[in-house]
Amino acid sequence: MNNPVTTAAPVGRLIQEFHKLPGIGPKSAQRLTYYLLRAPVEEARSLAQAILDMKERVVLCSICQNVTDSDPCLICRRGDRDGGQICVVEEPLDILALERTGEYKGRYHVLHGVISPLSGIGPEALKVKELLARLRDGLVREVIMATNPNLEGEATAMYLQRLIAPLGIKVTRLARGLPVGGDLEYADEMTLARALQGRQEV
């Protein structure tokens, strides 16, 4: 981004730093910077501290690989969660989505990505080893594949299924079908076919 000479150097630098963030264009970066310039110094300090705390205090849970500030994480520590079920997700944000449903009482495992043949991302870049290590103690009955229902997510689920099946553990996949509020007319063939296959008696 061009940094006009009329801007003071620290201001220009902050604009550039904001501009690096996803979804922040040059104008938004300027607006945020000038907001902070006029804001009380405590507000700026509190923001800076929050960013540092987040980077310094947050670690990956040694069990489920979720981001946490206390290891093991809250979900892994809770006694009322079923240790016999592990739900495998791509990203920590997926846990939030699943937790909002309130339906799931098992534990999670975060892969931190997905096998992406076209980007050259293989299983060694994901938390696959950690998942397999968790399955060795024989307490896990079921692994639920909750990767995204796209080609890469499916390929990852299939690959993991291939690794886990020999251990004699049940591997399930989240159902794929029609979204609530969607329109049948616009559904693609794959989704409709899956929805038909997975239909349920009402």
Partner: protein, 256 residues
Amino acid sequence: MLRGILLGEADRILTLYSPWRGKVRAVARGVRRPTSRLGGHVEPLIHGSYLLARGQELDVVTQGETIHSFPRLRDDLGSIGGGLYAAELIYHSTSEGVENYPLFRLLLDTLMRLDGEGSVELALRYFELHLLGHLGYRPQLGRCVACQGALPPTVNFFTASGGGVLCPSCHPPESSVRRLSLNALKTLRFFQEKDWAQASRLKVSPPLMAEIKGALREFILYHLERELKSTLFMDLVGGHGSAASGATVLRPAHGR
């Protein structure tokens, strides 16, 4: 649909390969939301019909409909790997807006073959050889590329930089040129000359398939001047364990 790159919160930049406009890039908005009308139609390896609105920098996909989704291809790791490999080859070997209908047809046919019962490896070798032909890099398999003499029925040599096969007398003694067995040469010729109906009936033993695979991969890498990322995945999931071993043996030749 060759590939999609994430853009912003819910958008994707798609790369499509079309019959009349060649490679086209376009934005599909909101396709990562569950209620997107377009989402399921713009997955990689979908044969679809899309309506593009001309945009300032990129075209925008306004409507889309699947023609073929290749469901059986999607249920098998080896076929997914093969399909993505084919898509990546097309992606890197073509330029935007350059029409090449035979290439489009070849890709579509290959995806249909991968969606069928036949051998993934066979379909990919056929694809590779004919892709090279459509791109203007058709390997010369009939005569020696140096002396233009007939090739003797023995072990010959395969050279990517020379664009085909070298006979033993033109081959410099201690060079690192790949040896090509007579059977491999015959198989390559057969693939190059015959149509798929005949080629698909060929029974190729795993070691022979590995030799052909190695030779063609070297040839493609030389002309593409880049390593293909999907080959890692293909070798990982291996065409049901049979031909995968050959690929790993051949890899050190290129370094990475």
